[in-house]
């Protein structure tokens, strides 16, 4: 039963990598992270709203870019985190990576939603339509679906061990599929010439715009990490609650 033994070895390894340490460490990190992200985002907002020129062709609407693009970046970053954590969780059975994957999903979904929303708020003045079946927009929409599916799966399977592994499988299969989906959508979109020939390569970005964009990007990322930690802490507590309840159930089995 070699498999069995290696597995138990893993279990011993877990005895060291236990959530208690994570809780202690993260407790120290959370507060500073909050402050840092607020500061950076605040600075970004200042430049985005006051201290950056309107675009020569897009006018003031270009200011939408400073929330839109970072959201879009984090939408993809979020799935990356989720998939990576899932892989680790599946291979090494490391408890915290499951917690991490689960906690990343809602945040990523939130930013994906923001990318969609701000994008269409940008599209209306720019192309006179809220939505265009442009390849990139379509693939972001599908990314949003993948997030929702992942969250729904977690929400439906009660037992954490099972839920974690199932969700991990989903996240990984999704990660494999994303390139395929992305490619097919582009192919489809170029097959039928889309009604609007608008391409979102974005204007060659002037440095004056680059600064606020960069700041917002960093700020959003910091915010993402902070939220991730908080949610992970909440998840660990939720599991402690579950174990306490199960212990009661067991104790209830009175002779």
């Amino acid at each position: 039963m070699a498999a069995m033994n290696s597995l138990t070895a893993l279990q011993r390894f877990h005895a060291y990598a236990n959530p208690a340490r994570f809780m202690a460490l993260s407790a120290r990190l959370v507060a500073p992270l909050w402050i840092l992200s607020v500061l950076v985002i605040g600075a970004g907002l200042w430049f985005a709203l006051f201290d950056s020129p309107p675009d020569y062709q897009q006018g003031e609407t270009v200011r939408i870019m400073y929330v839109h693009v970072p959201s879009a970046w984090l939408a993809m970053f979020g799935y990356g985190v989720m998939a990576f954590a899932s892989a680790v969780g599946l291979v090494f059975r490391h408890p915290l990576s499951d917690v991490c994957a689960k906690s990343a999903a809602p945040i990523g979904a939130g930013f994906t939603f923001l990318a969609l929303l701000t994008g269409s708020l940008w599209g209306q003045p720019m192309w006179g339509t809220w939505w265009e079946w442009d390849a990139r927009m379509t693939s972001v929409l599908i990314l949003f679906f993948l997030y929702l599916g992942y969250i729904a799966l977690w929400a439906t399977i009660e037992e954490p061990v099972r839920a974690a592994r199932a969700a991990a499988v989903l996240a990984l299969v999704g990660a494999i599929n994303i390139p395929i989906i992305r490619y097919s959508v582009v192919w489809w979109n170029t097959l039928h010439q889309p009604a609007s020939v608008f391409r979102m390569d974005g204007p060659s970005i002037a440095p004056a715009m680059l600064l606020p964009l960069g700041l917002m990007g960093v700020g959003f990322t910091l915010l993402f990490i902070t939220l991730l930690l908080v949610r992970m802490r909440a998840e660990v507590m939720r599991r402690r609650v579950r174990n306490l309840r199960l212990a009661t159930a067991g104790a209830a089995a009175e002779g």
Partner: protein, 69 residues
Amino acid sequence: MDEFFHMGGYAFYVWSAYGAAFAVIVALVWQSVADYRAQTRLAETLEKAAGGRVRRAAHREHETGEDAS
């Protein structure tokens, strides 16, 4: 100043974009923190309620992979 809020005629789009961003982020933050608080409180009450053996059990569990995986 108004001309700042006016956003060159695009006020609605720009401000609703920023508003939406603000709303979504606040919602995320609020939900996460509230959830953390709720779970912590629940855990404390349960630990008080449960007998000593059970509490130890829960914590021992806590160190095994079973718990947090």
